[in-house]
Subunit: 419 residues, 2 copies
Amino acid sequence: MSRRRLLGTVGAAGAAGLALGAVGGATAYAAGRPDPATALTTLGAGSVPFHGVHQPGITTPAPARGHLIAFDLAPGSGRAESAALLRRWSDSARALMAGESAGPGDHTGIALDAGPSSLTVTFGFGRTFFDRTDLVRHRPAALDPLPAFSADQLDAGRSDGDLWIQIGSDDALVAFHALRTLQKDAGAAARVRWQMNGFNRSPGATARPMTSRNLMGQLDGTGNPKPSEPDFDQRIFVPATPATGTPATGTPAAAAPAWMAGGSYAVVRRIRMLLDDWEKLPLTQQERVIGRRKSDGAPLTGGTETTELDLERTGPDGELVIPANAHARISAPGANGGAAMLRRPFSFHDGIGPDGTPDAGLLFICWQADPLKGFVPVQRKLDRGDALSSFVRHEASGLFAVPGGAGKGEYVGQRLLES
Amino acid sequence: MSRRRLLGTVGAAGAAGLALGAVGGATAYAAGRPDPATALTTLGAGSVPFHGVHQPGITTPAPARGHLIAFDLAPGSGRAESAALLRRWSDSARALMAGESAGPGDHTGIALDAGPSSLTVTFGFGRTFFDRTDLVRHRPAALDPLPAFSADQLDAGRSDGDLWIQIGSDDALVAFHALRTLQKDAGAAARVRWQMNGFNRSPGATARPMTSRNLMGQLDGTGNPKPSEPDFDQRIFVPATPATGTPATGTPAAAAPAWMAGGSYAVVRRIRMLLDDWEKLPLTQQERVIGRRKSDGAPLTGGTETTELDLERTGPDGELVIPANAHARISAPGANGGAAMLRRPFSFHDGIGPDGTPDAGLLFICWQADPLKGFVPVQRKLDRGDALSSFVRHEASGLFAVPGGAGKGEYVGQRLLES
């Protein structure tokens, strides 16, 4: 049975719905005029192209459900086995994202009847990959290990990995089907190192058009650079032609290898939220920890979610309105030499941990052209005095080089593996 | 900020969407004509009434996200503390299901901006509850322990419990907010015993109007009794006036106590699927294990999903077309004295287990007026010779008395706790 055929009758509606996406739907919702082009029925029909300059799953709207999975190459797997694996993975990802079967071996049926549901699959390489494939000379300096942070309590078994895949979809069974398919594709070439599940708000659940909330109830991603900003691409993606010379701000960027053109670097952190402690804090104290109002994300100095923080303003008591250790102050781009990263996280909730507290928090994923100008300077500052740090614990960490998107007939990573 | 006010502008669209629900949306999808009344934007606006003859979450369409949580009463908590707890829980459930705040202490903000997203909250009592509250004389015989099954590998720590709550919503953050709120409401009266998370297909992801799939790829729930059938209520719910005498089939039903009028019994099983083994089986063998085609759920003897099994038919080789140990044959109502239960499960996926295989499967939940005429006879037969049993493992089990719905001004369980 062809999944494509099942959905063929709604192709036009699906394509129209995709152009608007979740944001368009939420806007129509707020206005009280449901837009037929964003009907509930298009959730399954939404599809994201596999081929392109960038891989999908970076600027694509955050999906309702996600899986992260890291693999280590099996003993004996080198460059040739990796190339074959990336070709299998790319073939499967392209087919599944188009709502097709991943081939004759794809008989699990988990996604049968469903549309692609905005499935995205994103592939990355960890630092150790280059050692195991004799490709160290092609390893970007940007994959140098992240500095240690004092608040880290990292579990090595759930950190790093030779290969990393991010899967997202607005349907949990479509996402699970992709996970199982890609795991099967790994065959004898690679073994699972760790795997995590996450989620976001469902499309249409909220009238708020832009920013999602996390499990602390905060709007999360307010400071994200916007694709409409002129330097967005430069901050998030490695340019097609590696830059030379010294950039305007910060330390000189390590020259990115040519195979990373159009790519990006993903920092992945499993950030446990100490929700039992956090929720005991009264609302006004929570808002002072963050420096923003919980209701609408506006700075404590007033305005709306997008208003600039007034970092100098003092209250009648002479104290700073946005406290010196407020999370929003310390992480503000202006306080970090313009450091910018695109945050596209998932929440996670794995039930109750061995200590009786909720094993829940944020699968923090941020994207940047250079981690030394994105995640690292911000986290360094947060690590020194962020009021939020008493309520979170970084439990796992990974840093992955995510190459540009595959062209037609190409597989992801081909420019590295056949260089 | 009032969540209700935020959503007020779309009240009419929301109410219209609710009447159709997920099934209506899928039908419109298949026809290629998105129905404005089921626009994506109504996902958040969907709401289920708290008050009624039955509790919500039984015949309500299966939600995209769910939480199960069981509590044990704390030492010192008896009938009075339980009554106060059920009142707190009922107050919170009613407010949250209406998209309102659960009160001044509800400041987590996790569900801010979102509509009720078809939230349902369902409360049940386990066998041990009656001992701890000195209410043994009111304990239904239907709560007698389930028989042991040979395939059980039950973890006591994740089984049973004094109190049980089922939470469902089409939005994961709305569901999580309800979970945290109800856990906080427990206060010092009860302690969490176990907690599990589940999911189903998102509304609109599929063109198939009726039956959902599980992680083995099978349509799941094909044999469910339909609300349109004349004996549906009698099979699923305890009658308003307890029946006397001997029913037409099976053993005499234990007389249900008056406080259970309009209630039902939930059997909850965490059924691990051995997916690595299952997925190695070729499709034709998987279909012989089940007795149905995977693609459309039709019996191997032909027709459509709703066609009766032809249990006697043999093939050219003289063998039964639906094998003697096929799951569909053994679990067929006709083979079990008309035993009927309403299955309303969630899938679960808790990452990778300690043995390296996926910790995934089915949070099986079935509803019936009498477990001895629903789950027990079917599971007894399956336990003796179901081909599927090689691919599943029952890891946890619970049986809960779920009283009828609360009337206005009443709390769930009041008729028991104030009897």
